[in-house]
């Protein structure tokens, strides 16, 4: 499979003015400003296959947005190379822009007082689509994203969920090969989030669009993405499949058990997370003890009424990565 994105040894440094405290220091700063170098992205390398759905995650300030801006050609790298669909995003930014779409949670591309159909029409002309092509594409996207009922209402009167659907549809007007989604589900309720996830999966399936997603929402990552890249302090700290992230790498399971007596358990590698009368929640470290051994041990002590074995929630995995658990 061909690479949609190929990044090698990418580094980005910024110069930031040092602001001194006090009046005299401020005046000195005006005459002889001092700068410090900040390394926002440090020597990262990765590939994204065509048609892949990739999660690009990391805490605030980790370097996610900077990396996206570098990949889309908005920022110039200090060193390293980037190839997007075989193009250099910095020398061929305009040409590349016809093949990529972006949705930024913080920046709307819809005109606030106009209905979404106007914004979509405008985007069509920005991407040099003919009137007929734009009309056909809007009809297609309106069908997929179920926009028909509010396509003629001013954007200001739409719900957040309706607006996000229009934002994504707008980013797909020119049938991009890669879609960059930066926090698309921010502020949405559970039901709408799920709907947006379904739509992203649908567009990936129907148009083979490569999806590059950044999100702090564990559900987005778990339910949409196949692979993940974790970035922290500008460096890539983990790369692999979501399955690996959950099953192999973390190497922990959660056992929720209901018993006929109070359960007291003291096995190396087993931590009691919660205990209430005849119920307990245990965290099992698989490198120390197997789930089977733990269950056998429980059965020796008490009768089991109900038991559930699950993985550690995605939120906890991500939280661990952010805190340096995998670094």
């Amino acid at each position: 499979m061909a690479h949609a994105i190929e990044v090698n040894g990418l580094t980005k440094e910024f110069s930031s003015k040092v602001k001194s405290q006090g009046f005299t220091a401020s005046v000195k700063g005006l005459l002889a400003p001092r700068y410090r170098t900040i390394r926002a992205v440090q020597d990262i390398s990765f590939c994204v296959e065509e048609g892949d759905i990739l999660a690009f995650i990391g805490p605030n300030g980790a370097g996610k947005s900077t990396t996206i801006k570098l990949i889309t050609g908005i920022l110039f790298p200090t060193s390293g190379s980037i190839s997007v669909l075989g193009m250099n995003p910095h020398t061929q930014r305009k040409h590349l822009s016809y093949h990529i779409g972006t949705v930024f949670g913080q920046k709307s591309q819809l005109w606030y007082h106009l209905p979404p159909i106007d914004s979509l029409t405008l985007l069509g002309s920005i991407y040099d689509l003919s009137k007929k092509q734009t009309k056909n594409r809007i009809e297609f996207l309106a069908g997929i994203f179920e926009l028909e009922t509010f396509l003629d209402q001013p954007v200001r009167k739409l719900s957040l969920g309706q607006r996000i659907r229009c934002e994504i549809a707008g980013s797909l007007i020119h049938s991009p090969k890669i879609l960059f989604l930066d926090e698309p589900s921010i502020g949405l309720d559970v039901v709408v989030k799920q709907r947006i996830r379904d739509l992203i999966l649908k567009i990936n399936k129907e148009e083979k669009t490569t999806i590059f997603l950044t999100s702090h929402d564990a559900g987005d990552i778990e339910k949409i993405c196949k692979r993940a890249l974790v970035i922290n302090h500008g460096a890539l700290v983990w790369e692999g499949t979501i399955k690996d992230m959950k099953y192999s790498l973390l190497n922990r399971r959660i056992i929720d058990v209901k018993t006929d007596q109070r359960l007291c358990i003291d096995i190396p590698g087993v931590k009691t997370v919660k205990s209430k009368e005849y119920a307990a929640k245990l965290e099992v470290e698989l490198s120390a003890v197997s789930v089977e051994e733990v269950i056998q041990e429980i059965m020796k002590r008490v009768g089991i009424k109900d038991i559930t074995i699950s993985n550690v929630p995605m939120e906890e995995i991500i939280s661990m990565i952010y805190q340096g658990g995998f670094a």
Binding site: F14, S15, S16, I38, A40, S65, T66, K69, T72, G73, I74, L75, F76, R93, K94, L96, S97, Y98, I100, T102, F104, Q106, K107, W111, Y112, H113, L114, D118, S119, T121, L122, S125, I126, Y127, D128
Partner: protein, 259 residues
């Protein structure tokens, strides 16, 4: 190429139409300015029929037209400054258009509804308080008034681009505004100036934002119209070219600031 910017212009105009009732209310200030100046000019003219070739009627209409341009334009440098400061400019860059021409077309489109409401009120006021103009060429007036806004917007684009280097560019706008007020003949037609200042001011870029659109509207001649249109075209191109050059350097500056 042209289609995308004309579409941006028309959608920007449409988007701004929603504010028309708000403009009408804001135009109370405009009426106040016209009222004060109409009284002032009456005192200045006294028993004289003309000053520097302009009648009292023309002088009052002149102000209505300069104010239409001045109050009609939108402050596009504000939007550019905010986008540069907050780094959100980056989000609009990966589109196949020129950011500067996008902002310019958007600014022109947003200015039209404001200008129309101002022109309507200014004309009504001038008609009631000063009477009709002896001769008025509406097509020529529309072209040069739009050209006046085009000149001011080109200045504002340049000021906006300066925000790549300056954290606050509003003082540059204040400076521009004062130059248009004084040298550009905003309140007083350049013809009233002493000869040395008149020769300096007449072909300055600031005059093409205020004096030329208004003088063509109140005292039309084909020569004046051609001078105004050519001057506006020249300065718009010049300012857009300087903005484009600075913008190219600024984009690298944005890279340094981190977007």
């Amino acid at each position: 190429m042209i289609r995308k910017y004309s579409t941006i212009f028309s959608f920007s105009l449409k988007n701004q139409m929603v504010y028309v009732p708000a403009f009408m209310f804001r135009n109370v200030f405009f009426i106040l300015v016209l009222f004060v100046f109409s009284n002032l000019w009456r005192v200045v003219y006294g028993a004289r029929d003309t000053i520097a070739g302009l009648t009292l009627t023309q002088a009052l209409w002149y102000l209505a037209f300069t104010e239409t341009v001045e109050l009609g334009k939108v402050r596009i440098f504000d939007e550019i400054q905010t986008e540069v400061k907050e780094g959100t400019l980056a989000y609009t860059l990966n589109r196949p258009y020129s950011y500067l021409l996008f902002m310019y077309a958007k600014g022109l489109g947003s200015s039209v509804p404001q200008m129309l409401s101002l022109a309507l009120i200014g004309s009504l006021f001038s008609f009631v308080f000063a009477g009709p103009l002896p001769y008025f060429n509406p097509a020529a007036a529309a072209v040069v008034l739009m050209g006046g806004v085009g000149c001011t917007l080109a200045w504002m684009l340049l000021i906006g681009v300066l925000s790549f280097w300056f954290e606050e560019v509003t003082p540059f706008y204040w400076l521009l505004q004062k130059l248009i007020f004084i040298i550009g003949g905003m309140f007083i037609p350049i013809d009233f100036f002493p000869p040395w200042l008149e020769s300096l001011a007449r072909y300055s870029p600031f005059a093409f934002s205020a004096y030329w659109p208004a003088i063509v509207s109140v005292d039309y001649s084909s020569m004046r119209f051609l001078t105004a249109a050519a001057g506006q075209g020249f300065y718009i191109l010049l300012l857009l070219s300087i903005s484009a050059l600075l913008y190219r350097r600024g984009i690298r500056q944005l890279s340094v600031q981190g977007g």
